[in-house]
Symmetry: C2
Subunit: 322 residues, 2 copies
């Protein structure tokens, strides 16, 4: 049994950190150990909340205020991030903890920056496993933050129980700025900065999105009145309790009506298939495979061998089945 | 040596048709034969032109008029199609040859409907191979038609020497309807229906797009003044000769400056890597693999086994390398 398992399940933060570092590693022996550890975790369930919003909507401030409020109710909160841009920019949306100063010093909260390496696929695997680790470590709510760029939203929605879209107040004509696909994923739209001068703009934006949500096709996992749009202010705290109430309400309804288990089962199956495909393709990244592919790629580019025949040679060498 | 090889390279239409049917087949023995045939083809090069345009811009009429004009100059023309929607709808953009009645009866032209089966990946492989077959059969120009839906444009641009975007006249505010990514792929934008009442609207649209093209980043493969926008009329034939002149001009410049060979080499390498990935993932489609994956998927959904461990079991069973 892994030495991290016991302290992890007792809520030891260092053990949790080390376990996440383990699942982030691509070294084969680390992967094996990570798989075994994940397989041995107790079956605790947290409420997994995906949170999406483009830079500037006040995502950090919201998480800081919302997360602090949850810890005041006695809940343990973990914050993870899926940031596909971090690999390119070298920076990370959760790169420094000064973004959420209060929460990062809160003993009931655990903040983990997004790993700086890896493609989206790698980040997805790591995040799914980190969620399981945070659950096993006794967290009650896990917030998974992402930026509004489309593909990462789909990934995050496929590993969470609720998907929250955070927006800033805007004129009605900016409504089209949110892609339809992302609107269709949202369980709750929160319009932030509903305070001071922006209050009336925020209310208008809420009304606009409430109207847009009513036009969407009804989903089986939604009770009457959902998805919905609400005004919040991370700065004043207004609306945060109400937002949490709605999340609980939606979560309870889905659990009581079988949707929670159904959706989690479906997500687990997707995870399995994604791992399977990633594992097959990972064979191409081994140093000897890379060298062979580079050589053949040059022959293909030079016209000395047809692309399909070169591909078959690599497949044969890998021992892939016909 | 394959019995199709000799008649095919002599320009026999039936042999070409049968060879394309062969590359469309997914049967393993057909695949083997297709690979061997492709590998044995002589190295003839046609000008490969990708043509994109949403339904209603007059794509069929344009191909009919433009293709006929090329054959009148003594050129042999082949028309292929990449239509990702055909698998879903059962219909095809080239489903019946009545769309291009003249061209389909022209002995210097060869029209092949898109296959009705297959996902986009399969259509891509088939089209790449069909292009090679049409080249070997002595065609001088190969038109690859697609509908304006994004992903298929990228595929077609990655297998052609020139990418032409066909548009209809429109108000200036509709310019944003063309995705920036597709604009960036275009070597030539042709605004069709530049005749009769629509003449001045077509001229305005040409000017709008010419302006938009000037704002795009300069690409190394473009001579001064390209990409450019031109008015054409498939109905009256106006502008078709000029469009062909510009294509030749661009093609010659790229060939003389090394871009033609460089881009084809890069495309061949992409093709090789795409085939390799497709071949690896195809292992999951074998009946025994499917059965195993379905079983394990149910255990994963039920929570009896962790997704990563289940994936590893399938990978081990397939004999995939770590």
């Amino acid at each position: 049994m892994d030495e991290l398992l016991e302290p992890l399940t007792k809520g030891d933060r260092r053990a949790l950190s080390r376990a996440i570092t383990l699942v982030e590693s691509t070294r084969p022996d680390h992967r094996d150990r990570a798989q075994a550890l994940i397989g041995a975790l107790p079956d605790r369930q947290a409420l997994r909340i995906g949170l999406s919003g483009t830079p500037g909507v006040g995502k950090s401030t919201f998480i800081e205020a919302f997360g602090t409020r949850l810890t005041e109710q006695g809940l343990r909160v973990a914050v993870l991030a899926v940031d596909p841009s971090s690999a390119r920019s070298g920076g990370s949306i959760l790169g420094d903890k000064t973004r959420m100063e209060l929460l990062s010093r809160n003993p009931s909260a655990f903040i983990r920056p997004t790993p700086s390496s890896a493609q989206l696929g790698g980040v997805a695997r790591r995040t799914r496993e980190a969620i399981r680790l945070c659950e096993a470590a006794g967290h009650d709510v896990i917030l998974i933050e992402t930026v509004g760029v489309g593909q990462s939203e789909t990934l995050v929605a496929d590993m969470t129980d609720l998907f929250v879209l955070l927006l800033a107040p805007a004129g009605g004509d900016e409504l089209q700025g949110v892609k339809r696909g992302i609107m269709e994923m949202a369980d709750l739209i929160l319009v932030n900065k509903a305070d001071g001068e922006l209050m009336s703009a925020a209310r208008r934006t809420v009304a606009d999105y409430a109207g847009a949500l009513r036009l969407l096709r009804k989903r089986p996992q939604d009770p009457e009145g959902f998805p919905q749009a609400l005004p919040v202010s991370a700065a004043t705290g207004a609306g945060l309790d109400e937002a949490w109430d709605r999340m609980r309400q939606l979560f309870d309804w889905r659990r009581d009506h079988g949707h929670f288990d159904r959706i989690r089962a479906q997500q687990a199956r997707h995870w399995f298939l994604a791992e399977l495909r990633a594992g097959l393709l990972a064979q191409l990244d081994a140093p000897d495979a890379r060298a062979r592919i580079d050589d053949l790629g040059q022959s293909v580019a030079a016209g000395d061998i047809a692309p399909g025949i070169a591909a078959q040679q690599v497949l044969d060498w890998l021992g892939a089945r016909e």
